[in-house]
Each structure stands twice: as structure tokens, then as C-alpha cells.
């Protein structure tokens, strides 16, 4: 086939480069969502660790009365999924 005129070829070239860009953006968006989830989980874990440290200071030697992290995170509605 003969070479396409610039105005028509430009659409295809732009399409190819935009597809590439869109794929990268989608990937980065998915990764950003995963990182947000990790950050949320870390915040909940930090909150739990702090509350446990506070309760340990208040009653040293007591361990069984402290709620588990699973219970604590479940009450916060965390899904607990990884990336």
C-alpha cells in the first residue's frame, strides 16, 4: 500500500502512542489503589499497636484480655487483602 497522507497517518500514530500511555496510566492507577489499601492497613495496624501498648502499660503482665488484631481490624471493616 502507498504511504498514507500525514493527516490520516497522524491519527494512527497518535492512536498507538495514546494506547501505550493509557495502559501505563491504568497500571499506575491500579498500583495507586493497592498502595492506598496498604497504607490504610498500616494505619489500622499502627492504631492497634498503640492501643495494645497503652493497655499493656495500664495492666502489665496481662495479655489474654487484649483483643486480637484480627478482631480489631474486623471491627474497622478492613478486608485484609494484599497487593
Amino acid at each position: 500500500m502507498p504511504a498514507l497522507p500525514l493527516d490520516e497517518a497522524g491519527k494512527y500514530v497518535a492512536g498507538a502512542y495514546i494506547v501505550f500511555l493509557v495502559l501505563i496510566v491504568i497500571y499506575v492507577a491500579i498500583m495507586a489503589a493497592k498502595l492506598q489499601r496498604i497504607e490504610k492497613e498500616l494505619r489500622e495496624l499502627a492504631r492497634f499497636a498503640e492501643s495494645r501498648a497503652t493497655s499493656d502499660q495500664a495492666a502489665p503482665g496481662r495479655g489474654s484480655g487484649t483483643p486480637s488484631i484480627s478482631d480489631s481490624l474486623a471491627s474497622h471493616g478492613s478486608r485484609g487483602g494484599g497487593a
Binding site: A3, V19, F20, M31, K34, I38, S70, G82
Partner: protein, 240 residues
């Protein structure tokens, strides 16, 4: 640990990509035969080369995993293949656009290069269901590594088979006497190849860092759940 050097690598990738795009649109001359549409070549071919090399790299990491039993190599292998599959999607779409512009069809079934890449892509598309069909993590990693090694060996064999097919439709620009690239085009192509390869490495590192962070969170959760702290150990990024 996995995030070390990610920032300079990302900056290098962005700079190289920008330089490559500049070369593509402002330095490389228009192709005498295809005209402006040939600019897709500087995106499509580096993507294809990087994806195929990434599949082979995934196989090499899988060999390291099978030899050592270290789960980190399995994570490297998984992420390499994962990223190459994403690049493979880009290869198929950009290739279809180029085919439509050059040949008037979105897909040509009698072109060995296209069909062979599709076969490789579909082969690796089965990696995910194969991997996640196995629940036991140790077996999952081992079987996935065997798959990665076998499929990784298939990639260069497939490439050789296509080269031997001697198609006249898809000229081999680096091998034929009349199809060699002029220096300006070759430089642009190499710059694009380096940029896309750097992008692949950066995204692999990014994904590994995210998986490692996720694994550390799970580990922290287990440690907080346990009544007494267990022995500290180096944990590979969790795949899944």
C-alpha cells in the same frame, strides 16, 4: 529493600522516554516507503523486544528459584512475567493499529511474526490460572517456576522459527541487505529500546516494592496477632 534506587530509576526512565519521543518526532527522518506511519515502529518493536526478553528473564529467575528454593526468585519471576504480559497487550494493540494503517487490516493471520507473538502471549496468559489453581504456596511457586522455565525456553525457539519462515510481508530490517536502517533511525530506535527497557525495569521494581510492602503488612498483622514475638526472618514479597 525493593524500593531502593526506585526514585533515580524513575527519573532516568522519564528523561529517557522524553528524549526518545523527541528523537522519534523531531530527529528521525520520515520513512520513504511508509511515511509518518512508520513512527509506530519506534514504539511497537521496542515493546515487543522488551516483552519477549522479559519472558525469558522470568524463566531465568524461575531457574534460580528451582535451584535455591528461595521464594524471592519466584516473586521476581512472577513480576517479570506479569509486566511482560502487560507490555504484550500494548504490543498487540499497537501492532494492530500499525497493520491497519499499513496493510488495511487490523490483523493478518498469514503473517508469522504476528501470529507467533499472539501464541506466546496466549501461552503466558495461561500462567495466571495455572498458578492460582494451586493453593499450597510452595507447590504453587514450584509449578509456576517450571512453567516459566518451559515457556521461557519456547520464546527464543519461536523467534528462530519465525526468522526461518522467510516471510516477504514483514521484512527483517536488521538482517536483509536492502532493509538496513540509516544511522539516524537506528539511533532513534536504540534510544526507544533503552527507554522502554528502563520503563519495564522501573515498573517491575515498583510492583516488587508494592508486593513487599503488602507482605510486610501481613507479617506485621501476624506478629501483632501472636502472643509472643517470633524469630525475625527475611520475607519474600507475597505473590497473589
Amino acid at each position: 529493600m525493593y524500593g531502593k534506587g526506585l526514585r533515580p530509576l524513575s527519573i532516568a526512565t522519564v528523561v529517557t522516554l522524553a528524549a526518545a519521543l523527541y528523537l522519534v518526532f523531531f530527529y528521525a527522518p520520515l520513512d520513504a516507503d511508509q511515511g509518518f506511519i512508520q513512527k509506530i515502529f519506534y514504539l511497537h518493536v521496542p515493546l515487543a523486544i522488551t516483552a519477549l526478553v522479559g519472558f525469558v528473564v522470568g524463566g531465568v529467575f524461575a531457574i534460580a528459584h528451582l535451584r535455591s528454593g528461595d521464594r524471592r526468585w519466584d516473586a521476581y519471576s512472577y513480576v517479570s512475567i506479569h509486566m511482560s504480559v502487560i507490555f504484550g497487550v500494548a504490543v498487540l494493540i499497537t501492532g494492530s493499529i500499525w497493520a491497519k494503517a499499513s496493510w488495511g487490516h487490523w490483523w493478518v493471520w498469514d503473517e508469522p511474526t504476528l501470529v507467533s507473538f499472539l501464541i506466546v502471549f496466549l501461552l503466558y496468559a495461561t500462567y495466571y490460572p495455572f498458578r492460582y489453581a494451586i493453593e499450597d504456596p510452595e507447590r504453587q511457586a514450584r509449578y509456576a517456576s517450571v512453567f516459566a522455565v518451559t515457556a521461557g525456553a519456547f520464546v527464543p525457539l519461536n523467534f528462530l522459527a519465525v526468522r526461518m519462515a522467510q516471510s516477504l510481508v514483514h521484512p527483517r530490517v536488521f538482517a536483509t541487505a536492502n532493509g538496513g536502517l540509516p544511522n539516524s533511525m537506528l539511533l532513534t530506535f536504540l534510544a526507544s529500546l533503552v527507554a522502554i527497557a528502563l520503563l519495564w525495569v522501573t515498573l517491575v521494581k515498583f510492583e516488587l516494592t508494592a508486593k513487599s510492602a503488602s507482605g510486610q503488612v501481613k507479617r506485621l498483622r501476624r506478629a501483632l496477632d501472636a502472643p509472643a514475638p517470633g524469630p525475625r526472618s527475611r520475607v519474600a514479597p507475597e505473590v497473589g
